[in-house]
């Protein structure tokens, strides 16, 4: 653990324009290291005390041909002295490392925004690859923006010429040169990045030194050069942030820690079985490192095997967890039915991505809600939870473990590609503040049968192999309510089906009432969201409430069953609007459950909602 204090004082804020928040987008070729650059900028910004939210946006191809538009990799960060809820709509500053990046990203830049471009990468070939007929840096087409055109390639080469690196290696320091430049623009401290570079390139001190030198050079150029008219340094005050120890987390990390925290609180082993798929693999990677925390990971031969191994593990007294994205979840479907019918705890994480079929693997979507709630053969209810932000993944995962064990049921956790990769600062909780999760393995043979139920929760007993006197045999064939033996009795099947429903429905009594995030508990319009639309909805609602509009924000964590009061809550509003990154799923479940006139606001472009899109939809309903 390293506590980095603000060692180096940023340049005098009085000479800089103070802004409340800023959106910066780093864009370059896949090989330009934009994700690393963005990650470092994020850390430096967190250390500066700003609130922030990030959005990494990278291509599906591992090594797309250099210089092409489909090889552009971008990283967006929104930071400020106020609470930051999304990665931002339009950006204030665009860093374009090549023509393709400029071409792809220019549309997202604010009018009057700053472009920092590397003229060294705007040669004729580069321009042609990006589809430009003439050089946009020179042909006047960027009027209306503030252009800082620098030969970053050349300047980097000069900065590192004494380090003895090859030309190719030297050029790779371009991103750090640029980062140094942008650090000056926002008065960021370079020291954490310098420390990080030295640690990262421990075995290559020459490479570390070159990168640090490049960063310092970029910083110096920004500080000393005459910036074009209208371009100057900015200052962003520290945000009013609750005291605590912080770190940045991505959704995938928070989910891994949350799952492990859950099994830690339950004091049982986790067996995590998964088959790699974008964007779910990150969870497998993160958990694989937690071998010292009673976590065993298993890379199965396919998703079916992963799901079945998880069920086997739960039968054996561990918590079986499996994870995938839509196509892989589809393969797990039959096995999930087995877990439902044998009533074993299990967690299925779905990192949703754009579909159907392979769709757009690296792009985000929320289109698997139906799949989670309804997507199985037969009447097969289970519990579904959804995380709203990277940090929220931690608590949602613990809640999933609690419900899975207490109710002996599979629990779906829905996250998405955006939450998984996005990062935000996280006030690290104290694990001792969380309630323990009781696990009651049956040991008493007296009166035992495997489908004995708790009167209250209707959960069946958890009897694990290895326990003398509890030998029993179960499976997917319907079981007798009173003995657990195979039964084809019609009345029994009705009773078991009813019981499975009642058990899941009963979870509603064990979860908090649905609250209102922002606004009144009744009124003209409720905007109801779930998952990663949290950021844009909450900002849009806050903005419009500040302008006097009667709109409230309701955000669901418990997707199935719904909180008990949800129907009544929704009925208190004249209109209900449900923004979703799908073609309309939650909206229809709400309509079906409560007969409320909910309307959808749907976006399936693979990109998160912009705040303005939600604001416009709200206005259209309230300003007639």
């Amino acid at each position: 653990m390293s506590n980095t204090a603000l060692a180096e004082k940023p340049t005098d804020p009085s000479q800089r324009e103070t802004v409340e928040s800023a959106v910066v987008r780093f864009a370059g070729d896949s090989g330009d290291g934009m994700q690393l650059t963005g990650g470092q900028f994020t850390l430096a910004t967190a250390f500066a005390g700003n609130d922030l939210s990030t959005f990494p946006d990278f291509p599906a191809e591992i090594r797309a041909p250099a210089g092409t538009t489909f090889g552009v990799s971008s990283f967006q960060i929104n930071f400020g002295s106020r609470v930051i809820k999304t990665a931002g709509d339009a950006f204030d500053m665009l860093i374009a490392m090549n023509p393709a990046a400029l071409k792809v990203e220019l549309g997202g830049l604010k009018q009057g925004g700053v472009i920092i471009a590397d003229t060294g990468s705007f040669g004729e070939r580069d321009l042609r690859k990006a589809g430009y007929d003439s050089n946009p840096l020179e042909d006047g087409s960027l009027q209306g923006y503030h252009l800082v055109a620098l030969d970053i390639s050349k300047l980097t080469m000069e900065a590192v010429k004494d380090t003895g690196l090859s030309k190719q290696e030297a050029l790779r320091c371009k991103n750090m040169w640029t980062l140094g430049f942008v650090y000056w623009m926002y008065g960021r401290d370079r020291k954490p990045t310098a420390d990080w570079l030295i640690a990262k390139f421990g075995k290559r001190p020459d490479v570390a030194a070159a990168n640090v030198a490049a960063m310092d050079a970029g910083h110096t150029v920004a500080e000393t050069m005459e910036l074009p008219d209208g371009v100057h340094g900015f200052h962003v005050d520290a945000a009013d942030i609750a005291p605590g120890t912080y770190r940045t987390v991505t959704g995938a990390e928070a989910l891994a820690w949350g799952l492990a925290a859950g099994t830690h609180l339950a004091d049982i082993k986790m067996v995590f079985a998964s088959y790699p798929i974008t964007p779910a693999s990150q969870l497998l990677h993160s958990l694989s490192k937690m071998i010292d925390h009673n976590v065993v990971t298993f890379q199965a031969e396919d998703e079916i095997a992963a799901a079945c191994a998880a069920i086997g593990a739960s039968f054996g007294g561990s918590l079986g967890v499996t994870s995938s994205s839509g196509p892989g979840i589809a393969l797990k479907t039959e096995a999930i039915g087995l877990a439902i019918s044998t009533e074993l705890p299990m967690i299925i994480v779905n990192s949703q991505r754009a579909g159907p079929s392979t769709g757009m693997p690296t792009k985000t979507e929320q289109s698997d809600l139906y799949q989670a709630v309804l997507g199985r053969n037969a009447d097969s209810p289970l519990c579904v939870l959804a995380a709203r932000s990277p940090a929220d993944c931690f608590d949602v995962a613990i809640e999933a473990v609690r419900i899975a064990i207490k109710y002996m049921t599979p629990v779906f956790v829905l996250t998405d590609g955006y939450i998984g990769n996005a990062a935000e600062p996280w006030n690290i909780p104290d694990i001792n503040d969380y309630a323990k999760i009781p696990v009651n393995f049956r040991t008493d043979p007296e009166g035992f049968h495997p489908f004995l139920r708790d009167d209250d929760t209707l959960a069946r007993v958890w009897a694990v192999p290895g326990t003398p006197g509890l030998e029993h045999r179960i499976g997917g064939i319907e079981r007798d309510y009173d003995s657990g033996n195979i039964s084809y009795d019609p009345g029994n099947h009705q009773k078991m089906t009813d019981t499975r429903f009642a058990k899941i429905a009963g979870i509603a009594k064990d979860i908090p009432d649905q609250g209102v995030e922002d606004g009144n508990t009744s009124g003209k319009l409720a905007v109801v969201g779930w998952g990663s639309t949290y950021g844009p909805i909450s900002r849009a609602v806050a903005n419009l409430r500040a302008q006097g509009l009667d709109v409230s924000h309701i955000h669901l964590r418990h997707i199935w069953p719904f909180p008990e009061n949800l129907g009544d809550l929704l009925k208190g509003f004249e209109q209900v609007l449900v923004p979703e990154m799908n073609h309309g799923q939650l909206v229809n479940v709400l309509r079906a459950e409560y007969l409320v006139p909910a309307e959808g606001l749907n976006k399936v472009s693979g990109q998160p909602f912009k705040i303005i899109e939600i604001e416009d939809a709200i206005r259209a309903r309230l300003e007639t």
Binding site: N3, R247, F315, I428, E471, H472, R473, I474, G475
Partner: protein, 340 residues
């Protein structure tokens, strides 16, 4: 003082459940069930520590009839379930029961990976060369030309050899038995149990209803002696009513051939001696088909290696700190900062 009472000796009957057995009368599965229950008693299995896992099919009903822990999973997936179970509790003694369709059609992928990983359990494949439960369609082990409801003009595709598949997948224990041979089967099962790693046992099982007599060409009374060879480690590979026949390695073709001792100058010294640790011999034996060659039965191959579950256990142990690690520390590892 603690007095450790040795566990009472259980009999085959102690491994029978009160569930009504639902196989057709005359089904070979009954004989296998009997053989397994006898084996469990013979090896001193502890019911609380033993789990029978199956997929779907007639064969897969097996766990309901064995008084241990049991889990009837879904079609083809028993190997994956069993792997997860073993990862949860490596001390369990697991038997997987599967049919030829379950193991080699829908579950072929899982079986391949189970064998490759060498998870410590016994895998019993009841091969009746037919889909029994779904009423008699041909299976991946059905011989070419098998007439069934889905192949009224005879099946077209080439059958798979279960034992050859297992060896190819990297199995370290491959054995064969016949349902009706109660003298032989429990011994093979006991050997399978003693082996650490995945022990693959193919059992030729007669489906009375949909494929009756399909193995008569080597199990029939009149042909058995000439069409079966019971292999034993360190013993010459002989068969026939009076042990007059034997297998000789043709070093020109690198193939086995049937010879008769005393004929054409063949002596006992020409007969190949079985070495169950030799994969080439096992492969040659597994490939033999009647009528030109006898069917090899017994332990074809046994070459122990480290099991996957052992490797996982070792890895976990080497990473497990003496004291339970502080979860708060995990959350605070790496870059953090403090806001006062």
């Amino acid at each position: 003082m603690n007095v450790v009472t040795p566990p009472e000796k259980l009999t085959p009957k102690d491994f029978a459940t009160d569930q009504e057995v639902r196989w057709c009368p005359g089904c070979g599965d009954y004989a296998i069930l009997k053989g397994v229950q006898k084996t469990l008693a013979d090896i001193g299995a502890r019911p609380e520590n033993t789990v029978f896992v199956s997929g779907i099919g007639c064969a897969a009903r097996f766990p309901y009839y064995v008084k241990t822990y049991g889990f009837h999973t879904i079609h083809g997936r028993a190997p994956a379930f069993a792997t997860g179970l073993k990862l949860a509790n490596p001390d369990l003694d697991i038997w997987v029961v599967s049919g030829d369709g379950d193991a080699l059609s829908i579950g072929g992928n899982h079986l391949f990976h189970l064998l490759r990983r060498n998870v410590d359990l016994q895998f019993l494949l009841f091969n009746n060369e037919i889909y029994g439960l779904t009423k008699g369609q041909y299976s991946p082990t059905s011989r070419q030309g098998t007439r069934s409801p889905s192949t009224p003009w005879g099946s077209l595709d080439n059958p798979a050899s279960a034992a050859v598949f297992a060896l190819g997948a990297g199995a370290r224990f491959v054995a064969r038995g016949i349902d009706s041979n109660q003298k032989h089967l429990p011994g093979v099962l006991a050997r399978a149990h003693a082996h650490k790693g995945t022990s693959f046992v193919e059992i030729f099982q007669n489906c009375k209803v949909y494929n009756d007599g399909v193995f008569e060409n080597f199990t029939g009374r009149d042909v058995a002696a000439d069409q079966q060879i019971y292999v034993e480690h360190g013993k010459p590979l002989t068969f026939g009513k009076d042990g007059e026949k034997g297998l000789r390695l043709n070093t020109q073709t690198l193939a086995l051939e049937t010879v008769v001792i005393g004929e054409n100058g063949v002596t006992e010294a020409d007969i190949l001696v079985h070495d169950e640790t030799n994969k080439m011999i096992a492969t040659l034996l597994a490939h033999m088909d009647p009528p030109t060659m006898p069917v090899a039965l017994g332990v074809l191959y046994c070459a122990p290696g480290q099991s996957y579950d052992d490797e996982v256990t070792d890895l976990v142990r080497s990473h497990t700190p003496a004291e339970k690690p502080d979860f708060n520390k995990l959350l605070r590892a790496g870059r953090t900062w403090t806001v006062d």
